[in-house]
Subunit: 464 residues, 2 copies
């Protein structure tokens, strides 16, 4: 059928418009399209990544810094990596904090007796053996605490700011204890930093201000925090007994775990990618961050299986102690300081391996342009977004020395439902989504490691 | 502007068509439109219902049959009802089962030691003091258990059927224990009957088959059940220690709580509505079912406040012991047997007071027609659906004697996230949605109680 003239004109105009809007194919993307297609197809054809996350987390459980489970998990991973046939698999020692939770509880004593659902905050000090029993002062914000400072002395302060977003709300977890200590509080409770709750408290680290007394700190489930706030609003005297055995032991011997495929032309140049192998001592740390470290590892294995021989070295790292010290990230920087200038790119996955959207990038305008071009190869799985700003806690130390950084970005709607809670287990991850994350990491790492030009450095672009 | 002729014809045709499709206004709906509008507007103007649910549940906590909290809550409610100025507020004695949970735990012993997140099932027997330690046989269904019956002897059977819907999945909670006992199991675990989980186990009643041994039964969180299933699928020996102090005490003295506005013309004719005042011993039973009982009570209070004087009596009942015996419902039937023939309609709310959609009805075709007409008055708040089939556990006993029954139907998507779990607290309910439920219950109860014709009885319509 021959289309009539006006329809034909319309079609041509539409075609021209769509051509103008789409990314013009460029040399790098063209050169790697076939490899990217193979990577994506092969990654999606099996569920080895999800299975490994499940095996790791079911077998070793949670993996807090200083725990036997963490070191056992690293031993298992090392043995597996050696079997995977990489050019090298090894560990590097790092001294890590050794905080232990012990037994803990929070009980409502007045206006009625009830068990409160709580988790002590990581790095908190404990209470005396018989606990701290005190009236509760409920505030919504630091500003309200300042305004009511005179009421805080001798009390347990409860920060009950409802969820806004992680960055806004987590301030009470990190800084609430010292803010309350400054006005004479004996302990602090925070509303869990969580988007949704089924009476599920969320732990996470606090940071003490060394100029004031360290007081014990715990998170209540959002339900319990809200209930105490309602009781206080009714004018009832709210009294709580908080008991925590939490304490800090001497630093422990920890390890980063590493594996690499040596570059065929520039083995001294390194693309590093990974996640963190430690977790909080709740759930099994499947989402945060066994998923990130296993997806990175599987990305390397996929490149290996496909017989791709990158010009530069691709190195996977399972950083230790991200949760309560970031000693894995700083230890990696220190151990590899001599080769940091040859780190071409650092990629971190620590936001859950849900359906990938692409990456957030901290890099120069010239590097961003190349990364955007490479990202077009990920359009078939919807992971072609390359936004400005991103990285991660573990690659932060080398990014500060000038290494361009990428953070894997995912559909993270449910991330803060499970984050740092007992619910962080492998069922929250979907095998098909994990496989897409593997593909996304593998394509990006491989192309940057293999492309003729070195990814340029320079002053990072800023988010507008 | 004068429309051209063809457009005018089209508009007229459309108008005629829409007129034909819409509900033709009829005498009952017309007669009560003004009252319905006042009820809906007044209900939506305040949040007293939500506040009362919060006060009730925060103050008394959960309210299991036989507990002091349940009776204290009833005393509080009675005092409030007497202050509300109804024609009568009173309680009626009912003997109720007295099951107590005691301490309980489930620990994974092999392939690694870990605490499992569990809740014993209501009415379960306990374990010996040192618990039951046994290998776990994981099955997906009753059929699989039958096929593997020879493997079950001496073991703990875990039913791990993933969530389908409540009706389909709850069979393992009610019947799992006796099915496992029949093939020689020592205890049973079920995957929690839940649509979403943050490591949150869900309790609920079981029913023992009296022809086989009673064995202890508990629900694991879906995460724990899945983990055990994965371990078994890997060929690992899964061993669990289950400890439960659960036991049955002699029946306790319970009460239904009632209040009514006496009918001005036919005080002997009754429209009864309500929910259940007891709850499981987890969370605070705000959704299941403080919400239903308080919304019904507030509906009566609203009718009272508006000075509406129905021709027939409207009675609110807080039934006791719905969760583990339904003795409130059967007790009501027995205490009011002489007036059951004069029960015009029974309405129950026990599916959560989320945004109301309308009612499910068990009634004769003639009654359905009238109820559908009344339902049109609820269109302004989207609660005008009147579907065939519905009622509730507490009104079931009088429905079996011929009383037409309605169950409030709501947007229940999240109901089974919190149902019978520690997460069932008042924050799950929205004040505006609760107010709409109050309006929906009040309009239906008032119109049926006041309309000139008595709602007809007869063989109920069946769902097609």
């Amino acid at each position: 059928m021959t289309p009539k003239l006006p329809a034909l004109v319309c079609a041509l105009v539409a075609l021209a418009a769509s051509g103008a809007a789409a990314q013009t194919p460029t040399p790098i993307a063209d050169r790697y399209r076939e490899a990217a297609t193979r990577i994506i197809q092969t990654a999606q054809a099996d569920s080895a990544a999800w299975d490994r996350i499940a095996t790791l987390t079911d077998t070793y459980g949670h993996r807090l810094s200083g725990s036997r489970a963490l070191e056992d998990a690293i031993d298992w991973m090392l043995a597996q990596m050696q079997r995977d046939g990489f050019d090298r698999a090894w560990t590097e020692p790092v001294k890590i904090p050794h905080w232990v939770r012990g037994q803990e509880s929070a009980e409502l004593v007045s206006p009625r007796r009830a068990k409160l659902h709580m988790l002590g905050l990581g790095m908190s000090v404990g209470t005396p053996k018989n606990g701290i029993t005190a009236p509760v002062l409920v505030v919504k914000s630091f500003d309200e605490l300042t305004a009511r400072a005179a009421e805080a002395k001798g009390k347990i302060v409860l920060f009950n700011e409802p969820w806004v977003n992680y960055g806004a709300t987590v301030r009470y977890r990190t800084g609430g204890a010292s803010a309350a200590a400054k006005v004479g509080a004996r302990a602090v409770l925070i509303r869990s930093v969580a988007a949704t709750s089924i009476r599920s408290p969320h732990t996470g680290t606090l940071v003490y201000d060394t100029t004031v007394a360290k007081i014990p700190a715990a998170a209540l489930s959002t339900e319990d925090a809200d209930m105490l706030a309602r009781m206080a609003a009714r004018g009832q005297a709210v009294v709580v007994t908080l008991k925590m055995e939490a304490r800090q032991l001497p630093d422990a011997d920890g390890r980063n775990i590493l594996a690499e495929i040596r570059g065929s032309e520039h083995p001294e140049e390194v693309v590093v990618l990974g996640g963190h192998i430690d977790s909080w001592d709740v759930g099994t740390g499947a989402m945060d961050d066994a998923g990130g470290v296993v997806a990175s590892w599987e990305a390397l294995r996929l490149i290996q299986r496909l017989g791709l021989k990158p010009r530069r070295t691709i190195r996977v790292v399972g950083w230790t102690n991200e949760e309560n010290g970031t000693r894995g990230g700083t230890g990696y920087r220190d151990a590899h300081r001599a080769e940091v200038d040859n780190h071409i790119l650092a990629i971190e996955s620590d936001g859950g391996v849900f359906a990938p959207k692409g990456f957030g990038a901290t890099a120069s305008p010239a590097a961003i342009e190349m990364l955007r071009e490479i990202s077009t190869l990920l359009a078939p799985i919807g992971a072609d977004d390359l936004s400005i700003g991103g990285g991660g806690a573990d690659i932060g130390p080398i990014m500060q020395l000038g290494v361009p950084g990428l953070g894997l970005s995912v559909e993270g709607e449910r991330y803060f439902w499970y984050h740092h809670s007992e619910g962080d287990m492998v069922d929250k991850l979907d095998p098909a989504e994990v496989a897409k994350c593997v593909a996304t990491l593998a394509v990006m790492a491989y192309v940057v490691a293999d492309m003729p030009d070195r990814l340029p450095r320079g002053e990072p672009m800023r988010r507008q």
